[in-house]
Symmetry: C2
């Protein structure tokens, strides 16, 4: 009832002020924590703020749940219950449910689907994408490019794309020679984006399809000013198109396990191999998290975010759309590195601080924070619930026991596959918003609805 009244009031107000108010332009800032489900948030909260503490996320006035949806790769395909970053970013960027691996293209047909960045450009708004992954990686890509497989990131990876020696993708139909838009990197270089910051410089080195210049040179021709380190990022003038490429691939992460340790197999005695109730099992020793030396010199997500906000808001009467991704919450969880995920949650929190300060200064800024899909790291008991039974049972998967600053041990379990990378989970994911979201975002929504909400807010 109160919500309904609020909604009516806001609707009336929107009609009243929409045409010629003096509140300035409208902005949407969409923050995506890749794989940032409630498990990841709880694990990060315990480490960063304590079991009873609060993250900045927890203080946001709106919290909702998002239904994550994927389908088989054909028209009218059956539902697929677990998603990846490609189809979920497509859902948020275009409002369309597609199949795993697809970048703003339709299941089965490969038809390109208009993205919110393209709509913003057409309406005269600015736009930006910021990520701690390669800018050609799935999440950023789906907001501004169209390709049948997320693996087709540059002109050298369009046909028979191999990873670890296995042929896992082919984007022949997306080749320019076949009437397609080309690789992700080429499309980004030619895009109308005002700001594009992240990693992936090696994706801009190849020669463009059917041309003689590199993708980086193509971006230069399209007016992008290239920066490649923190000093250049921080001193970039806030006008013109800005391209930041701060690593060959994904950016290094902020934290790692002590001595680079990750989740490990419990050590089982030979008797325990015969039956899990026999012999003994030694759990991995607890470990701390420590700064990752490779991160030194890398711009933080907060720094990239602040630069993007300065660029997009500079002398801008038209508003903007900005997507900010903390990408390696997911990537580190795939690799069973909970300290890495925690550090990237901290990066998201720091960037969010700057975003909320910006939104406090700039009225009509809708801030939405959400995950694209759920991850599979699990916070399980460090002391088993069944410890009183004298049985050496332990996880069949891999475990990290993390020493937290409040003097306790937090056990994080990874056990969805014996492959080198963990799977994703199919759970609904959380969504947070600032006051601008109240009355506009329901407590439960389908992921594609987010596209409609952002589009309506921007009036595009």
């Amino acid at each position: 009832m109160i919500r309904a009244v609020t909604y009516l009031l806001l609707s009336s107000l929107a009609c009243f002020v929409s045409a010629e108010d003096d509140l300035g332009p409208r902005q949407v800032i969409l923050v995506i924590g890749d794989g940032m489900d409630d498990q990841q948030i709880t694990i990060a909260r315990n480490y960063l703020a304590g079991a009873s503490g609060q993250l900045l996320l927890d203080r946001m006035p709106l919290r909702a749940s998002v239904q994550v949806l994927a389908v088989e790769d054909k028209e009218q395909g059956a539902p697929v219950y677990v998603s990846d970053s490609a189809n979920t970013a497509t859902a948020m960027a275009t409002g369309t449910i597609t199949s795993r691996g697809r970048i703003a293209t339709a299941p089965g047909t490969d038809k390109d689907i208009t993205t919110i960045v393209e709509l913003a450009t057409a309406a005269g708004l600015r736009s930006g994408l910021v990520t701690t992954a390669s800018v050609t990686d799935a999440t950023a890509a789906a907001f501004a490019t169209h390709v049948s497989s997320r693996r087709c990131e540059d002109p050298d990876h369009m046909q028979d794309v191999t990873v670890y020696g296995f042929n896992i993708a082919d984007c022949s139909e997306d080749l320019k020679a076949n009437g397609g838009p080309g690789s992700v990197a080429e499309q980004l270089a030619e895009s109308a984006l005002d700001v594009l910051l992240g990693g992936g410089r090696r994706r801009f080195a190849p020669i463009v399809e059917g041309g003689t210049i590199s993708v980086e040179e193509l971006a230069d021709q399209n007016g992008f000013h290239l920066v490649t380190n923190t000093a250049e990022l921080l001193s970039a003038k806030p006008n013109g198109k800005l391209l930041g490429l701060f690593a060959p691939g994904n950016l290094p992460v902020r934290l790692q396990g002590e001595n680079k340790r990750i989740a490990e197999d419990p050590k089982r005695s030979w008797l325990n191999h015969l039956h899990p109730y026999l012999g003994s099992v030694q759990l991995p020793e607890p470990m701390g998290c420590e700064p990752n030396p490779d991160f030194e010199g890398t711009p933080t997500l907060k720094q990239m975010t602040e630069t993007a906000l300065a660029h997009l808001s500079h002398n801008n009467d038209s508003g903007f759309f900005l997507m900010i991704e903390s990408a390696s919450i997911d990537k580190q969880a795939h690799e069973r590195k909970p300290c890495g995920s925690i550090g990237e949650m901290a990066q998201l929190e720091a960037a969010l601080g700057s975003i909320l300060e910006f939104a406090a200064r700039q009225p009509r800024t809708l801030v939405v924070v959400t995950a694209d899909h759920a991850q599979v790291a699990q916070l399980i008991p460090d002391q088993s619930l069944f410890e009183k039974y004298p049985i050496p049972a332990a996880t069949p998967g891999k475990l990290a026991r993390i020493k937290t600053p409040e003097g306790a041990h937090m056990a994080v379990n990874f056990a969805t596959t014996n492959f080198m990378m963990e799977e994703h989970a199919g759970t609904a994911v959380p969504l947070f918003s600032n006051e601008e979201g109240l009355g506009r975002i329901p407590p439960f929504l389908q992921q594609p609805q987010l596209f409609q909400i952002m589009r309506t807010y921007l009036g595009i």
Copy 2:
């Protein structure tokens, strides 16, 4: 001056209306889905409503997240990151953070902590507890009794309590002979509860400590009318104290896997045992869910809920507190039975339908639905994210592949321990509320805060 006058006017008005308004009494109905985290909700939604469907829960106007907290079993103990149903029910029932296994008693000291049922009784409100578990099990117990271990459920299980031959609990200090309140069953039989429905009749058979009558006879002396089957439940007159005990232990669940199948180990070739990238792995065959024949004749949670509501609201000008638990979402997940958990989610949904109808008729009824703690069942890809790599990797745990009514397969993974029962997860849990919760329940809260919110709402 004007402000002061306004304040005085409003205060007088508040005094005027608070005592003698005509909106009737206040009620709180707390629905606990044991272990009902977002994984369980998503799994149940996919099966019961489809990947794009909505549960009744999803249509509730308020959704929040609850921080679940436990501590070591000593005064000023360090945090423990994963909880059980005893300490979490204690948090909701008393507003106090305690250690795992404790029932409304303080960590270290065993001091009894007043529960919301006791406060309701003292204030002249009615109260009821309904569960699909034994009424002496942890969740219901923590709302009306006090004991150092959840295992001390009846007079025969107070000292050296053994389970599977292992001594796992001792409640000597809670014996009446030692000045304590006795076992959970004895305390329930002597309680001021108006309605108590669930399983656990065998807990009421033993002779009370230091007496000559059974716990059931003690309950009878205390004015409880006993019903033991559905017909008796449905024909019980809506006045007087009602005790329903419909099974010797926990009530049978509604659904089971086809041919009683549960999650199973993938079958590995001998080569695959040497290295997970070699040989072959056969995943368990997909299975349907089917009605559990043992459930026949058992009252549904909906029937128990409707009877409880009729009893508690009959000629009642004072209001009531009612806790409803769907207990076996968790218990079935411990046993790696996802069909069982889905069926108990369906039971919760059906009961919630009746509760929301009651709340629509009866103003000032706060309905809160939440989980006590998270569970570890995981919805993982039925077709691996890495299926394009010709490697036979599969879960190291146990997997159930469930055929859903919309014609797809849903893979549910259990992999936290090799023990016969899975662990819990430490994740924050969802909370839902009706319109009465708006403005009263923040988007993020600590579990003990829920006690304060309910208490304040009831004015007790």
